[in-house]
């Protein structure tokens, strides 16, 4: 399956605008480009720049056109574009195979392609067809996708403050006033839940994707618990960033799915949802099992399970690794985060 594109990286000269900025300040935006950028942004697709230009002049020009704010982590300098794309990928923390690069020069596209075989490169001459590109048409556009650029901008602000913060990391994290809310998925959360199963690669225990109908069935099933979590801090909301599906049996609770958006990895909240499920399972007097299916990206999730005291139990015929936890040791929530739950108060459900 070819993944949905998460970020489009643009060249500037002869791509965003007609003309070469170094030769003439009188460059003009290509027809329709503003509309294309606006639409991609509304679809939750991030935008960035890889251009060989004078940084200040190019940013000034983008500002004049009123489109500067569309672009996250623009790379404008004289170095190879393959390295620019590597930097953008690192800043955004997304897979290299979810980047699409638009440039009018075959040389630049080839250079990027030779280093990053998984980046899709598009000739700027075809820019008017971009909006019809299948990989640029996400199946769902959720509240989270519409706010995505804003969330990354808030994140850039946090990073700047974090870098200038003196003192231990916990003190910085505490200064963010983070609130982590765990709730049972409501119907309006399902689109975002499906989106999370599709977009999340690194912190995803099984790589399984579920569609809207399946998730809706789990939501209503008395034998399942479908949890979503949201993180907010004083700069804003990170959106719905985590999802878990628990199957409840006589003797066990069984984690069929656990995932956490990579955006919150540096916030030290990755284990909160898992700890919570462990606590609740113990409270219900059950043991906890968890499925793990290895993918090429999710070793970190395996490590998270093992560090949370899960042991390997057996491997199913379909390759699913079954982990089990006797719940003898459960990590408490980090002190710098306020965890709120609005479920499980009505314990009659299980």
């Amino acid at each position: 399956m070819t993944k949905e594109i998460k970020c489009v990286v643009w060249d500037l000269d002869h791509t965003i605008w007609d003309g070469v900025l170094l030769e003439s300040e009188q460059v003009v935006l290509k027809p329709g480009i503003r509309e294309i950028l606006t639409e991609l942004d509304a679809r939750g697709i991030l935008l960035s720049i890889a251009s060989r230009n004078s940084r200040e002049d190019a940013l000034q020009k983008l500002r004049e056109f009123g489109i500067e704010d569309f672009f996250l982590y623009p790379e404008i300098h004289w170095n190879a574009k393959s390295s620019s794309i590597a930097h953008i990928r690192e800043h955004l923390n997304i897979g290299i195979d979810t980047i699409l690069f638009v440039d009018d020069q075959g040389f630049e596209r080839d250079e990027v392609q030779s280093v990053h075989g998984d980046v899709e490169c598009v000739d700027a001459a075809d820019y008017l067809h971009l909006l019809d590109h299948p990989r640029l048409n996400p199946k769902f556009i959720t509240e989270d996708s519409k706010r995505r650029r804003l969330m990354y901008l808030e994140d850039m602000q946090r990073k700047q403050i974090e870098e200038s913060f003196e003192g231990p990391q916990d003190a910085f994290l505490a200064s963010l006033d983070m609130v982590f809310t765990i709730t049972e998925a409501a119907e309006e959360d399902l689109k975002r839940a499906e989106e999370l199963t599709i977009r999340t690669n690194q912190l995803n225990a099984t790589g399984r994707t579920y569609d809207y109908e399946e998730l809706n069935a789990f939501r209503q099933s008395p034998n399942h618990l479908l949890l979503v979590c949201e993180l907010t801090d004083k700069y804003g909301s990170y959106g719905k960033i985590g999802l878990a599906l628990v199957e409840k049996t006589e003797t066990h609770w069984h984690l069929k799915l656990l995932l956490m958006s990579c955006r919150v990895m540096s916030r030290g909240v990755g284990t909160v949802l898992l700890s919570y499920i462990m606590q609740e399972t113990k409270r219900a007097g059950k043991l906890l099992r968890a499925d793990f299916v290895r993918t090429d990206r999710n070793k970190m999730m395996y490590v998270a399970y093992r560090f949370a005291n899960f042991k390997e139990e057996r491997v199913d015929e379909d390759g699913t690794l079954l982990l089990i936890n006797d719940l003898s040791s459960i990590a408490s929530f980090p002190p710098f985060i306020d965890v709120r739950t609005s479920i499980l108060e009505n314990t009659t459900r299980y």
Binding site: P168, Q169, S266, G270, T271, R306, F307, E312, A331
Partner: protein, 85 residues
């Protein structure tokens, strides 16, 4: 710098509390003391695999192996011995 000091220095650079509050011996469990968090466990794993050119096997991914300076050093030395053997 001996391995114990290297590991100790790395932990000290990654403490989540102020240095003066964090006194720990080579055998103290740094996770139980609350000096580091689970995110650090992940970072530590990446660090020792990269710095000491070892690969920690899945069955060794037990938090106990990473919980004290002594245990981390023991793990690294064991892995290095395996590589040389």
């Amino acid at each position: 710098m001996a391995l114990h000091e290297q590991i100790r220095a790395y932990i000290q650079n990654n403490l989540v509390v102020f240095d003066e509050q964090a006194k720990f011996s080579d055998s103290d469990n740094i996770f139980e003391l609350g000096f580091v968090n689970s995110l650090f466990a992940m970072k530590l794993l990446t660090h020792i695999e990269g710095t000491y050119h070892i690969t920690v096997d899945n069955d060794e991914l037990d938090l106990a192996n990473f919980a004290s300076v002594n245990n981390i050093v023991a793990l690294i030395e064991r892995k290095r011995a395996e590589v040389e053997a």
